[in-house]
Symmetry: C2
Subunit: 284 residues, 2 copies
Amino acid sequence: MAQILKGAPVAAALDVETEKRAAALREKGVVPTLAILRAGEREDEIAYERGAVKRCAKVGVEARCVTLPADVPAEEFYRTLEDLNRDPQVHGILMLCPLPAHLDQEKARKMMAPAKDVDGCTDLALSGVFTGSALGFPPCTASSALEILRYYGVDPKGKRAVVIGRSLVIGRPVALMLLQANATVTICHTKTVDIPSITRQADILISASGAMESIGAEHLREGQTVIDVGISWNEEKQKLCGDVRFEEAEPIVAGITPVPGGVGSVTTAVLAGHVVQAAERTLA
Amino acid sequence: MAQILKGAPVAAALDVETEKRAAALREKGVVPTLAILRAGEREDEIAYERGAVKRCAKVGVEARCVTLPADVPAEEFYRTLEDLNRDPQVHGILMLCPLPAHLDQEKARKMMAPAKDVDGCTDLALSGVFTGSALGFPPCTASSALEILRYYGVDPKGKRAVVIGRSLVIGRPVALMLLQANATVTICHTKTVDIPSITRQADILISASGAMESIGAEHLREGQTVIDVGISWNEEKQKLCGDVRFEEAEPIVAGITPVPGGVGSVTTAVLAGHVVQAAERTLA
């Protein structure tokens, strides 16, 4: 029987800290503010925005929703982003992605002010993850995985960590963050031969492939901590499922995050924390 | 009996390519130019500078040595660097490190124009290594390891690669470059428990710890390709030695780079190639 590593208490603990620091900023006349830039009406983006707004309200971070129509002229979109870059009252910018097809997501990504990049999408923020310096902020999902480990007392130091997936949003940054935390890190991906033999060596397994229920007993052994970053809609079961076959994994491993209710429950708490940190840096 | 993966033929093959491209640039009136910035008279820096100048001459790259006294006033050093950043006739800058103690190496590193950063020390160049995009250039030593693999027909795709060391100059960039080349990559370091059990699983082993002769039979198995990035002076043997105990490794593995004459023989060829690429980009 594994310990179920729920996200909610991790988020709650982060919120306590963030709220304290947000209050301190307000006392100095600074209202930590997140701008959420959305173009169009994608359901998943709206749902994430709603979660972020709620979290911000809870911890004393101002959320400013900047919503543009799906067919917003490209120049207007970029100008809006640049206005947010320049606005001294905005400390963090969350650009909901994917952008509508006529907008150049890569261009927008490069355009964002690194100091306001609270979800780690600019080159400089990612460079900070790579070099282990605080140039910007890591992607919130990657930070969330680390926060879950920290909250549940799993120190990566000297442990074998295996990451499945090498995306810039989660796989690569979480691997580098685990390395920074002194784990011995292996990155697996679609070209990896015999993934199960590698994952069985892991003390900490981070699955971020997005391949629904692709990880099961053959990948696992007792004593492992499993962080399941995947979240997919299972048409057959009519419910959200992760990368890991939870029912199969849970009796084997020492600890596992549920889906939903695991990593995904922590990201907006990390986001709000990044906004407060970004605001604090403007005072430094 | 392992194949000895000498650097000289790798460098020679790179030189042929670089010379051709440099000649094409000169026909367009562009003289690809490397500025080598050195403060002080460290022997190792002078030796590397000499090698770089010689390589540049061979392939038609102009080398401009900018040498300042070890006690150069800090402001003068930074101004010199900025002049090189601005000079349209300089396409690449090599800043020899370590700088004298009164200079802020981190500040100088951040100051360099990323487009001219032909040895991958700026944040944006490193971000490019992390994200797999050509924002700048990877550190030459990391590129050299990959060039050796390429020259000797060792395709990292699907292979287990183990990197020992996590420095920004070699360990981390070479790991990300191997990942980009579709290897399954593990990074070991001083906090790793039981390194031999991990390195024995490697198909490709890159040792970049700088721990002289620390890798031997217990780390190795047949069929491996070993790239030894270490280079240290062995006082007892009165010769240069790598991280690997060569005599012990050579009968076991399939291929191994010698020290000296391995990775170190390729770096200036990579450097000259980067200068030509940087010059080509100014025309794009």
